[in-house]
């Protein structure tokens, strides 16, 4: 550390620093730091939860009357795609801002990012292959795009977070995978509403846990 004297501000000492003030300062500083460094900001999780429910319910309303199931109409398809892109951009931007200046284990490593990217690209490549192979519309445009990405990405995220001993994020990944698995049993149209509700509950629950952890006192257990 290079010396840079600042005599005007070095006179502080703990002589008249009351323990109650110290406890309040310790709690306040810890809580502020937790809030500022949290990559998954609760307000963003709540917005994502509400929007994912709205988007998935909109698609469900579009496809629920189809017998047999075909696919969401051209008027609705851009909605989940736009939501997915905006969701990714907003999540990355907020996480990048929160973790600016932070280095170490809490940042995703290149290999972990590569695994997640390969999974996302892989599941949609398989979807294309299924369509080309003539698999039914109910599977290719119903069950598969709603459930398989959630199961694959949720399990991958849970595995990465378990390796880092981040049990809250691991739990979120597992919950997303369970939501995807639940969608499998709801039929091609019902999968949209089941996963929409499940993701909304997961995101709101995750936001609540984060807020609770941020507000937890370090002085008073």
């Amino acid at each position: 550390m290079n010396p840079a004297p600042d005599t005007a501000t070095t006179a502080d000492n703990g002589g008249d620093f009351d323990p109650r003030q110290a406890a309040a300062l310790l709690d306040q500083t810890t809580q502020q730091t937790r809030r500022r460094l949290e990559p998954a900001q609760p307000w963003l999780l709540v917005i994502r939860g509400v929007l994912v429910l709205a988007v998935f319910v909109a698609v469900w309303l579009n496809v629920r009357g189809q017998h047999p199931y075909r696919y969401p109409t051209a008027a609705v398809v851009p909605v989940p795609i736009t939501f997915g892109v905006l969701n990714l951009v907003a999540t990355l931007a907020v996480a990048r801002r929160a973790t600016a200046g932070v280095s170490g284990r809490s940042r995703l490593r290149r290999a972990e990012i590569a695994v997640l990217a390969v999974i996302w690209v892989g599941v949609f490549a398989v979807m294309g292959a299924l369509a080309a192979a003539g698999v039914s519309d109910a599977v290719v445009y119903g069950w598969y795009p709603v459930t398989v990405p959630l199961i694959a990405a949720g399990l991958a995220w849970a595995g990465i977070m378990a390796a880092r001993a981040d049990w809250r994020a691991c739990g979120t990944g597992l919950a997303v995978a369970v939501v995807g698995a639940a969608g499998v049993f709801a039929g091609p149209a019902g999968a949209w509403v089941v996963t929409g509700v499940g993701l909304c509950v997961t995101l709101l629950g995750s936001a609540a846990v984060i807020v609770w952890r941020q507000r937890r006192s370090v002085v008073q257990p």
């Binding site: 840079a4 501000t9 070095t10 110290a22 310790l26 932070v102 280095s103 284990r105 002085v219």
Partner: protein, 99 residues
């Protein structure tokens, strides 16, 4: 229990804020000097002086990295620093319970 039992290195508002901020990071993570300064609202001179005192006590470590012409200083709490903050928090708790 008296305030004498509180670690004098930590029981100073500025240094308590530094240690509490770094302790909120996951174990093994470090924070850049500029982000720390921004979060605490301290002058660079004051922050450097307080960091040096904590570093001399073995409570934190700093590492300078160079990226082209830009130099970056990363600061992290050591395991000794975490233990000291835990002991300080315990002592504080004891004092508050006795009040």
């Amino acid at each position: 229990m008296t305030t004498d039992e509180l670690d004098p290195l930590i029981h100073v508002p500025t240094r308590l804020k530094i240690v509490a901020t770094l302790a909120a990071l996951p174990d093994g993570d470090a924070l850049s000097f500029t982000r720390l300064q921004d979060m605490l609202g301290l002058t660079p001179g004051n922050l450097i002086i307080q960091l040096r005192k904590l570093e001399e006590a073995g409570y934190l470590s700093s590492e300078k990295t160079r990226n082209g012409s830009a130099q970056k200083t990363m600061v992290a709490l050591t395991s000794q620093g975490r233990k000291a903050l835990d002991a300080y928090t315990q002592a504080l708790r004891g004092l508050l319970n006795g009040l």
